[in-house]
Symmetry: C2
Subunit: 116 residues, 2 copies
DNA sequence: TTCATATTACAATAATACTTGAAATATCAT
DNA sequence: ATGATATTTCAAGTATTATTGTAATATGAA
């Protein structure tokens, strides 16, 4: 992931409705969920759902597949993970103090305990 | 960190200039750096720097302190770490597959290897 | 006090993002 | 074909965010 992709992903996550969609799709896992069901779950109108889920899809955070009349959306854990890696490693240069401030670790430097 | 704080932090990070500022301040560490020096480092005008660094400060990602004529800004690793924790634990419910897709781990569930 | 430096605040504009409702498309069932 | 369902597309309006240049404030030095 490069800087531009990271900015797109961060902007996509920086909205209540979209964060709710992500949360919902995380729970649904590999089964995913249809646009309509997602809309009911997060209490958003059809066009609102299309608007926000398109932003998530453009950022690579979710994928879609048409199944009969419905379109099924699934979370892309890989892209979410890539964003976390980018923030810790590329953006924050694997800084020791960041790992000291949260319970997130990387391959390059693993702390022993955590102060969550 | 709650959802609203996470959205503010994500929105603050979702901009090229602000991401550059973060990167710069990570390198500067506890010494921090003045508004003017930050401006030179990221090639942004004074008022641009004030605008963007204010957004980062509102989101709690940086702190400030006046020292004589300058204002010194420092990164808040704690808030950055809190955001990472929020994404992994609250938003993504510590989902196994997220940890499988990146080299980020949490206290609650630590994977053995990584597929970075 | 006067001047130079460092930074912020403000106002005007431009650019993006969001919301809403109506119309269009795609698929399936009859 | 016709009608019903699921979703997207579009257009209009509103709101938010970003940029630019200028003015104001705060501090220190002469």
């Amino acid at each position: 992931m490069n800087e531009s992709q990271a900015i797109d992903a961060l902007a996509a996550l920086a909205h209540q409705t979209r964060l709710q969609i992500i949360r919902h799709l995380v729970v649904k896992g590999q089964n995913g969920d249809s646009a309509g069901e997602i809309g009911s779950a997060v209490d958003a109108s059809p066009s609102k759902i299309t608007f926000h889920i398109s932003a998530l899809e453009r950022a690579g955070l979710v994928g879609s597949e048409r199944v009969s009349r419905q379109i099924i959306y699934r979370i892309h854990f890989q892209q979410l993970g890539a964003l976390l890696n980018y923030l810790v490693e590329d953006c924050c240069a694997n800084h020791q103090e960041l790992r000291g401030c949260c319970n997130v670790e990387t391959d390059n430097c693993r702390s022993s305990g955590s102060d969550k």
